[in-house]
């Protein structure tokens, strides 16, 4: 089984670097219900892929208090350690996205942490 290490990935959005401790990309297939009145009672609904699809979402958990800018799309850059084996992973990650939500949490005894969600707008 092929595998890649996540260690060494550095993430920036619109030129702003984040100390990320988790990055999660979710791909979802947009679907259209094409069930008809002729389908027998108790049968499964029928679906087809939609002609226009939702772009993948990217969720980034990070340490720090500075939130990403949310006014326009920004460039996402990925860097990996030269010695790392995860170049193939980052090569397939999005490069332009819109930050759609962000939050920051301060908790007793912990570093201030944040998370942000990005909607991919260009591969």
């Amino acid at each position: 089984m092929a595998y890649e290490s996540s260690q060494g990935i550095k993430f920036t959005f619109s030129g702003q670097a984040f100390t990320a401790n988790q990055i999660q990309m979710t791909k979802k297939l947009s679907e259209i219900d094409v069930s008809s009145l002729s389908d027998p009672t108790g049968s499964y609904r029928s679906y087809r892929p939609a002609p226009i699809i939702d772009a993948p979402e990217l969720k980034v958990d990070f340490v720090g208090i500075t939130l990403p800018q949310m006014t326009a799309t920004g460039a996402i850059t990925w860097t990996v350690d030269a010695s790392g084996s995860n170049a193939a992973f980052t090569a397939n990650m999005p490069t332009v996205a819109l930050c759609t939500s962000a939050d920051v949490t301060a908790q007793v005894g912990e570093l201030i942490k944040g998370s942000a969600t990005f909607r991919l707008t260009q591969n």
């Binding site: 996540s6 990935i9 550095k10 993430f11 990320a20 401790n21 990070f62 570093l111």
Partner: protein
């Protein structure tokens, strides 16, 4: 040695006139005495590696022939060390929290019937280290 031990030793010696010893008190050290020891270090890591702001857990033990003296020294140390933040001798202390405190005893020295009283404190100290 730019480490939180430098700050902790200073805080302990400012809080009490008792002898302050790292890890183990020497034999025949006079009472009361204080022993401090780093029991663990937790380093948070991100995808890019060590953040450089670990949390060191220290145990501080105050040993005295008098229970009330041990308690008084423990309280002086608490007031000096708990909640401390700032720079000390090249180390940035980000947070300090007294997380546990308990009373204990030591076996009496040979020839004595009265036990030694010990108060144990646990501090979590988040500090900045070079990465």
């Amino acid at each position: 040695m730019p480490a939180p031990e430098t700050w902790l030793k200073n805080a302990l010696t400012q809080a009490t006139t008792a002898g302050v010893h790292p890890v183990l008190a020497p034999q025949n050290a006079p009472f009361p005495l204080v022993v401090y020891r780093r029991s663990s270090t937790r380093r948070e890591r991100g995808l890019g590696g060590n953040f450089g702001v670990p949390v060191a857990t220290f145990s501080v033990s105050i040993v005295s022939q008098s229970y009330s003296e041990a308690k008084d020294i423990a309280d002086s140390i608490r007031q000096k060390a708990d909640n401390f933040t700032g720079d000390f001798s090249g180390v940035r202390i980000i947070t300090t929290a007294l997380t546990a405190e308990s009373d204990n005893m030591e076996r009496p020295p040979e020839g004595q019937s009265k036990p030694l009283y010990r108060v144990d404190q646990v501090y979590d100290v988040r500090f900045q280290e070079t990465v």
